[in-house]
Amino acid sequence: MLQHGIGTGPGCAPAASAGAGTQHAPARPSRRRVLGQAAAAGAAAVGAPALLTGCGTASAKDGPLKFWNFYAPQHSDDPSLNAQSKWFTDLVEKWNRTHEQQIELLYIPPKAYQTGSKLPTAFAAGAGPDIFLVSPGDFLRYYNGGILEELTPHMDSEAVKDYYPSQIASRMVDGKVYALPMEVEPLAVFYDIPTWEKKGLSEGDIPTSWDQLLDVGQKLATSSRAGLVTETAPGYLQNFLWYPWMWQGGGNVLDEHGKPNVDTKGVRQALKLWQDAVRTGITPRTPPAADDLLGAFKSGVAAMWVSGIWQVSSFKAFAPKHKYGVFKLPTPKGGRYVTALGGWSFCANKQGRNPKAAAEFCAWALGTMEDACIDRMTDWCIKAKSDIAPRKSVLKRGEQRGGYDSHIMRYFKDEVFPGGRAEPRYPPVIYKAMSDAIQGAMLAGRPVEGETARAQASVEAYVKSYKGASLV
């Protein structure tokens, strides 16, 4: 009876007939038969994985689409992480209730997802997820690799216009949308009020210029306390945290036409600022408290920290009574205020099993003018996380629902966010050239002129042979 069940797929049929053959074997097999059967068993053992793989793939094709992310499903001690996980599971459950094509979430720990090899390896093996989250820094890599399915046909045109242009532009190519932002995460400086008070500093001492920032940092720094912390490990995060300082002085890696523009005053002075911060001992060479802002403030080992709006929900969850403040990034002499706006997006795999349904899902989740969609995005930005909404209607609803009533969130919305510029979508070679310049100036103390000249040469060489969507 078993054979009937087995022999449903072409790949499984030989196994079934082999099984049938053994049923009629004589009671005392001859040596030749035993050897023959042993050889057949050996061959079957060797071939079994391939056969099983074939069966697995066949059935998986008909199964749910895989949505890889670093939020859900998971259970954590952190209530904000639980809320984020619930938002994702609710989203997928709602879709699955109303659509034939089912979707399944696959959780990958943030570090493995964001800086590990799991995602690139999966794509290289032709086994990438159907739906996934992409950061601006990775957008071009996936677009140029032919991975991103266009989302525009599944979106309301009004919804495209509803996105803040700065947010959607970096996810578009030739006027078409390929990824939908779910959040906006601006950068600012967080400061620890008890430490400031201990040092006799108050709100009136909040720095507005780079010189003042270094002065205040110097006053706050001791041998066991960092004056101003920023990322020192090489990586996308460090570049992201450094870009706004460069923009403030008019610097750019590429100009508006995509021409390399690294060896300029704006870039050099931003490198010099971070170099001075380390050289004078204001900024430690490695982040204190295992890179945990909250822990560092609570234990008094850091006084100021360059970070993003995502820290607000951490304070709310773990240290609601701890007194901390936020101020906009100070500006250089003659410069203008700019901050960097980060955030992740939904996107669909063009080479996946059902790209149309995957794209439809992304648009349904984040790209329509329906009330449910706007509500859902509002929940993400003000309930599950503490973020600025990437769409005007969502931000408005968030305001109506009191999501920006707290002093800190209002400050982020009204003061920090309006001067923002989206995180650039530079490919890895450009990222690496700038990363090396930042590291060389900041931690090796090399002259900034040499660093910008070297980075300029690397970026120029790359841009000359670059083929793909616009870099800016």
Binding site: S117, P120, Q439
Partner: protein
């Protein structure tokens, strides 16, 4: 009588017994002679030597198959891949030696090779001396020695990721226990992982801490092989500890030393990735970007699989050259022809 027949008659093993039995079963007179003839008539019956070869082959087959599938084939594929430009999303373009040309002109590759060179040159001798020292120490017959052996070996069984995190805390600039100890005795303390002139040596020190227990055990095994009578005779002749070490321990430990030298060199050239990944991400300012880390970065962060394969091939060649050099210099662990 053929050799085969002679062996079958002489040997009382299972094959021989079977042959005798089959001869007996053939019945009739002149069983012995007919038996021999019978064996001649069956040229496919294997000799003991052949059967042993077959058995050895069968025993080795699973390992050989594993090596072929999981080592040899990927290595060949990696070399093939190095001649292609690979997007990471299924597009392969044959570019000949393009990746190798790029490698030769990539300053970061050369910097990573230089860093690897320093890493190997410092790590291998220090690890050798420390492990040998520990091996000599724990060979002493003192109370509680088993505890010391365990303690020294313990770091080796801890995951390198955990080791990395542990040392990251201990080497923290502000609140790390190492800097606190320095400050307690009036010293300034350092940024052990944040200063480009120190970071690589911090990583080396941590790697030595992890590996010393493993090589200590290997040295201990080698030391215990040396006959005690030699030491007793030397002591009677008035040789002190240093003379005993120089004239007995060191020469008789040569095969073990060769093994440790070879293995630690190979491990240093191709290893260290996990620690770098957790501790420094190749920073500060590429100071700890070993070749193996740079290869990883090119493949899995930048998606340059073809270029990474070319660098991987180059690194394997370097490793082979170093291993051959060690073989040549030490004459395969014998160190001189006389021994």
């Amino acid at each position: 009588m053929t050799d085969t027949a002679a062996e079958a008659t002489r040997e009382p093993g299972p094959g021989g017994a079977s042959g005798a039995s089959s001869t007996a079963n053939s019945g009739g007179t002149g069983a012995s002679s007919r038996g021999r003839t019978g064996r001649r008539d069956r040229p496919n019956r294997m000799s003991r030597k052949h059967r042993e070869w077959l058995a050895a082959g069968l025993f080795l087959a699973p390992d050989g198959l594993g090596l072929l599938l999981f080592v040899a084939v990927p290595m060949v594929l990696s070399v093939v891949l190095s001649f292609f430009q690979v997007s990471g999303f299924g597009s392969y373009e044959f570019i000949g030696f393009g990746n190798y040309e790029r490698m030769l002109n990539d300053p970061l590759f050369w910097q990573s090779m230089k860093t690897t060179g320093i890493y190997v040159v410092v790590l291998v001798p220090v690890l050798f001396v420390v492990s040998l020292g520990l091996g000599l120490l724990v060979k002493q017959k003192l109370p509680g020695m088993a505890v010391y052996r365990t303690v020294f070996f313990l770091p080796y069984v801890i995951s390198l990721v955990v080791v990395g995190l542990l040392w990251q805390f201990m080497l923290d600039d502000q609140v790390g226990v190492v800097n606190k100890a320095f400050r307690a005795v009036g010293l300034k303390g350092e940024s052990w992982l944040g200063d480009p002139s120190i970071a690589l040596f911090s990583v080396i020190a941590i790697f030595i801490w992890v590996m010393m227990g493993y090589y200590m055990i290997i040295f201990l095994a080698g030391l215990q092989e040396i006959p005690q009578e030699l030491y007793e005779a030397a002591r009677i002749d008035g040789a002190g500890p240093w003379k005993q070490f120089r004239n007995i321990t060191w020469p008789l430990l040569r095969p073990t030393s060769f093994f440790v030298l070879l293995m630690s060199t190979v491990a240093a050239i191709t290893g260290g990735f996990e620690l770098i990944y957790v501790l420094t991400q190749g920073g500060p300012a590429n100071a700890t970007s070993l070749a193996i880390f740079y290869i990883y970065q090119q493949a899995f962060v930048f998606g340059e699989y073809g270029y990474a394969a070319a660098m991987g091939t180059a690194l394997v060649l370097v490793m082979i050259v170093c291993s051959l050099a060690i073989f040549k210099i030490t004459k395969g662990g014998r160190f001189d022809d006389g021994e």
